[in-house]
């Protein structure tokens, strides 16, 4: 089974964020970056499936030079090859623009499965892989909690999380795009041997020109969604401090959740 895993490098969720001067994104200087959490689970799922079927795992990521570090970690964890979509023309894309670039890269070879996380921890559009599935013309499942191979990999039994704690089980014919949730498996630690081997694994860098893509259809130029500004939510408003000992405070909290917030 040949599996592609699309990962995104995002700011560490524990990092303290500052706004960029133009107010349209966060200041990336000195910001620690990590692999997007649900993408780490997608990679683990891919590595496990490949171990069962003896296949290959190729990891892809779109972004600036810093993304090499995320790809290197994926290689250290066990992916066999990395593909880095690196071109200024790719920067600032919305979900369809990014999906177009990924689609072009994936279409150069034949995969049985594309795995990725359900949502990125920075933009959180949760749409890139859906568009990608559309471009590929492949079936697609979102919010996936479990993946099982069927018919020797010709189809997959996929558990999806629905509202109200229900699960949906669907059967999907491969090739397919699967978007997994964080928490569905236990991502492995890279072995120190794996880390040392990673630099010897093939790492390919692709530009828009390499993929035969018109720069006008990718990145900011190819996007019909434009980030106008980002801002921190205003603090203080709406917050209530509940006084008293634990038992009293808990009782007041439950009343408020029930009667004011109406979430219980």
């Amino acid at each position: 089974m040949r599996i592609a895993v699309c990962i995104k490098q995002v700011p560490d969720t524990e990092a303290r964020l500052r706004l960029r001067k133009d107010g349209r994104w966060v200041d990336e200087e000195d910001l620690p970056f990590v692999i997007n959490e649900s993408d780490e689970y997608a990679l683990e799922e891919a590595l496990t499936l490949a171990e069962k079927t003896g296949g290959e795992v190729v990891v892809l990521s779109l972004g600036p030079a810093r993304v090499k570090e995320a790809l290197r970690k994926a290689l250290a964890l066990g992916a066999q090859r990395a593909v880095h979509l690196q071109d200024e023309a790719f920067e600032g894309g919305d979900a369809p623009a990014t999906a177009r670039a990924l689609h072009a890269a994936l279409s150069r070879e034949s995969f049985d499965l594309v795995l990725t996380g359900s949502q990125s921890d920075d933009n959180g559009y949760g749409a890139t892989a859906s568009v990608l599935a559309g471009l590929l013309g492949w079936p697609h499942a979102w919010l996936v909690m479990g993946v099982e191979l069927e018919e020797g990999g010709a189809s997959l039994k996929v558990v999806r999380e629905m509202e109200s704690g229900m699960n949906e089980i669907v059967r999907i014919a491969t090739p397919a795009v699967i978007e997994v949730q964080a928490g569905i498996n236990h991502p492995r630690y890279a072995s120190l041997k794996g880390i040392m081997q990673a630099k010897r694994k093939p790492q390919e860098v692709l530009t828009a020109a390499d993929l035969g893509l018109d720069p006008a259809v990718v990145g900011a130029a190819g996007s019909r969604l434009e980030v106008v500004s980002v801002a921190f939510p205003s603090t203080g408003a709406g917050a209530q401090m509940i006084e008293g000992d634990a038992a009293t405070a808990a009782r007041v909290l439950v009343e408020k959740l029930r009667n004011e917030a109406r979430v219980l």
Partner: protein, 406 residues
């Protein structure tokens, strides 16, 4: 609890390679996920977490600088960073890995026969086998050359007699690297668990390194085969070469301990509210303590980084290792003390890691060469006079210099 994000006051991270950073961050995550949650309980119960050994093996924490037998062949800086992250959790956990790697796998790899290497390096590397290192004796610590343990040739084998003390992992070990006097000088032997005449028992009542096993080994007419000798050992210097490996790792490890007590004290000082509704971090006396800690940690980082680069170039000398071990363990000991002062009463309970580090570092301060002996090693290098064991000629030397001057 928030994740540990390192101490990097001087932007030293870019001096590390990408692999070195990834090695450090991987071990850091493993330690935070798997060891930190159980360490206080291990310390309380005086228990080494044996359940983690196979995971540590899978991670390649054992024999990590060896580039054979499927082991990773880390740079010495990357290896040092693994020591730092392990000791950030606990000196006893770091000790386990130090002993397995530097004191057992290293001598087998460097001085062992092909058969010994083929049998033991993979087993020790995966954690399927555990090793210990028997050099120190009840009556010979700083002066190992005085050891009383003997190995006598007997037929086609050897007979060991003597005892060893303060042996990390002694009762856990499947294989002991034992140093003994022979007619040909001090040599190293591999003694397997269960060999008749070989006994081990745990030392109890420790207030330090409680998450680590410390044992005594006894050899009474213990007969071992001819192929139990490490063939390339020729004298005490081979044992000291092992200690150089371990002491190098301790210089890094101690910084991990210092980072943990420093960051604990820093967080505490910023949150602990006392006079005027202000955190105690606003007091100049508290700030001075925190500044001392971060200053010394930063200097210690530069020290071990250069030591690592020298070691990678095969140019690190034993007196430079003494400098690193002596300085950084002292820094860790002082940091534990200062952190404990900042935490007040919270500095003596195991809700916080400070008292455990403070107790642990007392062992580290005097094991693997005491602070004072390392001072004398450096002293010997710069003066030419070995003050721990001054031979007569060195006492005469200055007089001769005076005579020559006349």
């Amino acid at each position: 609890m928030s994740r540990f994000s390192g101490v990097d006051f001087l932007e030293l991270d870019p001096l590390l390679t990408e692999e070195e950073r990834l090695v450090r961050d991987t071990v850091r995550t493993f330690v935070d996920d798997r060891v930190m949650p159980i360490i206080e309980e291990c310390h309380r119960e005086a228990r080494f977490p044996l359940e983690l050994v196979s995971e540590m093996g899978a991670l390649n924490l054992f024999g990590a600088t060896i580039d054979e037998y499927g082991l990773p062949g880390l740079s010495n800086v990357a290896y040092g960073l693994t020591m730092q992250e392990l000791e950030r959790c606990d000196s006893g956990i770091r000790s386990f890995v130090s002993v397995q790697s530097a004191l057992v796998m290293y001598p087998i790899y460097a001085f062992g026969s092909q058969e010994q290497k083929d049998r033991w390096i993979p087993a020790l590397g995966s954690g399927k086998a555990i090793g210990c290192f028997g050099l120190t004796e009840p009556d010979f610590g700083s002066n190992p050359g005085g050891m009383l343990t003997t190995a006598r040739r007997d037929g086609d084998g050897w007979v060991l007699n003597g005892s060893k003390q303060w042996i990390t992992n002694g009762t856990l070990a499947d294989i002991a690297v034992v140093w003994a006097q022979t007619d040909e000088g001090v040599r190293g032997f591999l003694v397997e668990k269960g060999t008749p005449g070989f006994t081990s028992s745990d030392q109890h009542g420790k207030f330090s390194l409680r998450a680590s096993v410390t044992s005594e080994l006894g050899f009474q007419d213990c007969r071992i085969p001819a192929d139990a000798i490490l063939p390339k050992t020729t004298g005490l210097k081979n044992a000291l070469m092992c200690l150089n490996q371990a002491r190098y790792g301790i210089a890094w490890g101690a910084l991990g301990s210092a980072m943990e007590t420093y960051t604990t004290a820093l967080d505490y000082a910023k949150q602990r509210i006392q006079f005027g509704g202000q955190p105690i971090a606003c007091h100049q006396l508290v700030q001075e303590k925190l500044v001392w800690m971060v200053s010394e940690i930063t200097k210690g980082q530069l020290l071990v980084l250069q030591m690592g680069r020298l070691k990678d170039a095969d140019r690190l000398r034993h007196y430079q290792i003494s400098l690193g071990k002596r300085n950084n363990v002292w820094v860790a000991r002082e940091c534990a003390k200062l952190a404990r002062e900042i935490l007040g009463a919270n500095g003596i309970v195991d809700d916080y890691p400070v008292i455990r580090h403070m107790l642990n570092i007392e062992s580290v301060y005097t094991y693997e060469g005491t602070h004072d002996i390392h001072g004398l090693v450096i002293g010997e290098h710069i003066t030419g006079i070995p003050a721990y064991n001054p031979p007569e000629r060195t006492v005469k030397a200055p007089r001769k210099v005076l005579e020559d001057a006349r």
